[in-house]
């Protein structure tokens, strides 16, 4: 199926679709630029812990991000820089969290991809895969209680995460409750070093939708146009009362699991298949072929993204880092408990 998508189709596209494509492309570009900067900061020893990049997955992530509206709920995973930005994350927060700034929402208590702003519907993942899906589902249960039936929730997971009990329990729960939840599985072929063949035995992960009683969709994660079309449909179906949507996107992780990982285990021949295409390059070609952008405009966008990233880094680097003396060392929100701890 993917082979037929190698050549971009040249059909008439509506102005709305054009606008969305360009919007999504720019989030992809900003995410790629951001992550390249994060990688270089990590290599320079400016970031503690891990740096996890989404190279090769920006199209799915950006397309999902722009389908969400203010008031929706988003539970991104580790390779969702593009979606996070499109959902409204500010660039400076990305770097504040990575640096461990006191001014970030997590105040240096959590780093890298474990960030969010739950008050704004932007959930902060923990490292335990699959466990955020039920959290997003529960947020939708709350919205139903509050009479908000316009919002949807979306969350992403990898091929490896689909093997967890948490994934199964959460999708089943969402299906039973008929929640407007979009679960996007990004099959990037590897869970750390483990290939699909050691992860699951079904022919196609989207077939699981039938088992859960939810609607299933497949998309080519290397092709932004396909991502936009399918995710527009899936989010619209969820929004219009058709219950949970399981979307399975295929692509290849064009980077190691994290920056410390050279991915030497990866089958390099995959890079020369349709799966191995770089979604950003594919999108650039598409933009040029449709005369939506020429090389000069692309270069302008690239420069703009670079400038925004440099500015954000410069600002974030001026913020004070987490330090033990200003840390409260109190994990409780209840004032009575917190006061007792702080007195001690």
């Amino acid at each position: 199926m993917l082979d037929t998508l190698k050549q971009p189709k040249r059909e008439v596209v509506s102005p709305v679709a054009r606008e969305k494509y360009i919007d999504a492309f720019n989030w992809m570009l900003l995410a790629r630029t951001t992550e390249e900067k994060l990688a270089s900061l990590w290599r320079a020893g400016k970031i503690s812990g891990g740096v996890y990049l989404g190279k090769g997955q920006e199209a799915i992530s950006a397309a999902l991000g722009i389908m969400l509206k203010s008031g929706d709920i988003f539970g991104p995973l580790i390779r969702d820089q593009a979606g996070r930005l499109a959902f409204g994350e500010s660039l400076i927060d990305v770097f504040r969290v990575h640096f461990g700034s006191r001014t970030s929402l997590s105040r240096g208590r959590e780093g890298n991809v474990h960030r969010g702003n739950p008050r704004e519907g932007y959930q902060a993942m923990i490292s335990h895969l699959g466990s955020l899906i039920s959290v997003v589902a529960g947020a939708l249960v709350a919205r139903r209680f509050k009479g908000d039936i316009s919002a949807i929730g979306a969350t992403t997971i990898g091929d490896g995460g689909t093997s967890t009990g948490a994934f199964h329990e959460a999708i089943n729960l969402a299906a039973v409750e008929k929640l407007p939840l979009v679960v996007v599985v990004v099959n990037n072929q590897y869970a750390y070093s483990t290939p699909n063949s050691r992860q699951f035995a079904c022919k196609d992960l989207v077939d699981r939708a039938v088992g859960y009683g939810v609607e299933g969709h497949s998309l080519d994660g290397t092709d932004l146009r396909d991502c936009l079309e399918v995710l527009a449909k899936a989010t619209e179906r969820a929004r219009s009362g058709h219950g949970p949507q399981l979307v399975v996107g295929s692509c290849l992780r064009l980077t190691g699991h994290a920056e410390h990982d050279d991915a030497s285990y990866m089958d390099k021949s995959l890079l020369h298949t349709a799966l191995g295409r770089d979604c950003l390059k594919v999108a650039e070609t598409y933009l040029q072929e449709h005369h939506w952008a020429d090389e000069a405009l692309l270069e302008n966008w690239r420069k703009n993204a670079k400038q925004r990233v440099e500015d954000a880094v410069a600002d974030a680097q001026r913020d004070p880092l987490a330090d033990p003396d200003t840390e409260t060392w109190c994990p409780y929100a209840t004032p009575r408990i917190a006061e007792a701890l702080l007195v001690r």
């Binding site: 923990i126 589902a137 249960v141 929100a333 009575r336």
Partner: protein
């Protein structure tokens, strides 16, 4: 009118649902059926749409409660048995307990754990897991021993902005009765001296408070006066009350139904020994359940958990030390 410990739990939930529109109940068989122990009896009828039957998915039950709490709800999750809560362990200790620390967004969920043994319940329907959950920063762990405490502490659990593990004891469900529900009570985080005595202190919680009191009655006949402290809430732990009692009696015996290794008893003794060593006239002692899985047959189960006789014998030895 009499009201049981179990009915007090039902009444507290009814009041919480009535007073606070953010409250809803989620758990297996809690709806029209009224719960495996009937702790939610008739609530589905009284509060349509707010008592939701859950699939057998403890992980997702708690995960969804966390998501709802983030959105401002006050969910009460009923685990059918405390033993099954470990299926949701990850959500409880990694997601719920850390949420406020990570994001400055509170996680006001209450997880009810029908705990402890009954004759014939066996290894997977009898566990006391308060020690396990107390280990994790960010959780509040309550262990009410009376009808009154079950009522007011459950109401407090719902009001508290942090995740609360509410360990309600199944052995007490229908055995404990009271005349009426209280209007006021001690705050959840305050231990209570339930019996005064000059000779030694027994610190207990949940069903073991009653075993300790029975032991104290027996020892009174032998002219040994035991002071009994009911911890009520094991995290946070009211060490001030414990220390005050030890300062009066100079002898400490801790009793808990959970397993011994790294437990509530161990924590109380370590704390007293660390900051109150000078108060002690004898080495502090503890009694827990035996360090094996919980046996099914009543002949075995009866000696697996601490009983008033075993507590009395240990107290006698401590008194004579």
């Amino acid at each position: 009118m009499t009201i049981t410990y179990l009915e007090a739990i039902r009444e507290a939930q009814e009041k919480a649902l009535r007073d606070d529109h953010r409250v809803y109940i989620y758990g297996q068989d809690v709806g029209a059926f009224g719960g495996a122990f009937k702790a939610t009896k008739n609530l589905a009828k009284e509060f349509p749409g707010r008592i939701l039957d859950a699939p057998i998915s403890e992980d997702a039950m708690v995960g969804s409660a966390i998501g709802a709490a983030i959105e401002g709800m006050r969910p009460i999750v009923e685990m059918q048995f405390a033993d099954f809560s470990v299926v949701a362990f990850n959500q409880i200790v990694n997601q719920a307990a850390t949420l406020y620390w990570r994001t400055q967004v509170a996680c006001p969920i209450t997880i009810r754990l029908p705990s402890g043994g009954n004759p014939g319940s066996g290894p997977f329907h009898s566990q006391c897991l308060e020690s396990l959950y107390s280990h994790f920063p960010g959780l509040v762990v309550m262990t009410p021993a009376t009808v009154e405490d079950a009522y007011t502490m459950l109401l407090e659990a719902v009001e508290i902005d942090d995740p609360v593990i509410f360990c309600e004891h199944k052995y007490l469900y229908n055995r404990l009765k009271s005349d009426a529900l209280p209007e006021t009570n001690l705050s959840y985080d305050t231990a209570r001296v339930v019996r005064f005595g000059r000779d030694l202190t027994i610190v207990a919680y949940s069903a073991m408070v009653h075993e300790a009191l029975a032991a104290a009655d027996q020892l009174h006949k032998e002219n040994i006066e035991v002071e009994v402290v009911d911890l009520r809430c094991v995290k946070p732990l009211d060490l001030k009350t414990v220390m005050g009692s030890v300062a009066r009696t100079a002898r400490l015996l801790c009793v808990g139904e959970s397993w011994p290794w790294g437990g509530v008893n161990a924590e109380v003794i370590a704390s007293v020994a660390t900051s109150g060593f000078h108060l002690l006239d004898a080495p502090p002692q503890r009694i827990n359940s035996k360090d094996t899985p919980i046996p099914f047959h009543p002949n075995l189960w009866g000696v697996h958990k601490p009983s008033s006789q075993v507590i009395a014998a240990a107290a006698r030895r401590l008194y004579e030390w």
